[in-house]
Symmetry: C2
DNA sequence: CAGAACATTCAGTATTGACTGAAACTTCTG
DNA sequence: CAGAAGTTTCAGTCAATACTGAATGTTCTG
């Protein structure tokens, strides 16, 4: 790993950490975005990032749950391979969009909590809920539109 | 504050904390979404949340920077009033959308770091950049569309 | 300008939580 | 089935950081 690459990996670590993930999650994702070959074993990643196997294991699960990486296996090989292919960007975006859903649901819980308050008091939270409900509906549509409009432009394989 | 309201405030604290803000930021925002009157002084907030003045001060700046609350003053009153009116939801969304920009910029930094690598190796990051650039462009448009389409529906004052 | 009312800063404390590394577990090979 | 190769779990350590509260700074009033 060159110095520039190492800096990129480290900055990605800080960035994802600033959004509530762990630094290691950012480092691992960053590394999988630039590494060669694109598929790496846990051991390779641990060595590249100079991290423990335990950290890689936990972080891999976190990233996979967020839809940010892919785990693949090969027959006759006990090892697991991790990668961050283009498909994961979209699933990451879609899972990121679920944040809007969480906010809307929170607003609805709040409205239940203040069920017996006058309408004027509730108006703020109702508006809050409406704004987020709208974005929650529209963002997935934006990502889908990229898949259709943008697919050819970047030479990516068309899907579905 | 009723038990239900207190639970809402606390859950909002946990939720924003999970996205990299402080629990206090979430509590304060949550409280400002449901409190009566909608505008509250630092002293009132500190008492409601049973937090120190110092915490309120720092958190208020954080939330104001993120566009999530408004600070207002009144002539002949040294105190500052905090509130979370509907306008702030949109500015919050817009600042949330800037996250896509950060990701795109990060991809571009990464591409610089691997400038002398073969095109096949760079393809992943290029795709990454393209996806996020697309969403970065489109999400503000979604929010704007809400402002136009949704304004009447929720009885909110039309703007601009 | 003195003093009161409020806001901010910051050093210190307590808590949280990220990471390590050894032990336990799983899965494949001969 | 024994052993090897790999992965996951988890108790413990250490660093990061959220919050407190006293001291400092600021702004308005008489």
């Amino acid at each position: 790993m060159t110095d520039d690459e190492s800096r990129f990996v480290e900055e990605m670590g800080q960035m994802l950490a600033s959004y509530g993930m762990t630094p290691m999650a950012g480092r691992m994702w960053g590394w999988l975005l630039i590494c060669e070959p694109p598929e790496q074993t846990a051991a390779e990643i641990a060595e590249a990032l100079r991290a423990s196997r335990g950290a890689i294991s936990g972080t891999a699960r976190l990233l996979a749950n967020a839809g940010m990486i892919q785990r693949t296996t090969r027959s006759g090989d006990r090892r697991e391979y991790f990668s961050a292919p283009p498909e994961t960007f979209e699933s990451f975006l879609q899972s990121a969009a679920s944040i809007y859903r969480r906010f809307r649901l929170m607003a609805e819980r709040g409205l239940e909590a203040m069920a017996d308050r006058p309408p004027a008091s509730r108006a703020r939270l109702e508006e809050f809920r409406d704004v987020f409900a709208f974005v929650e509906r529209e963002v997935p549509a934006v990502v889908d539109r990229f898949l259709r409009e943008g697919a050819g432009r970047t030479g990516r394989k068309e899907r579905a």
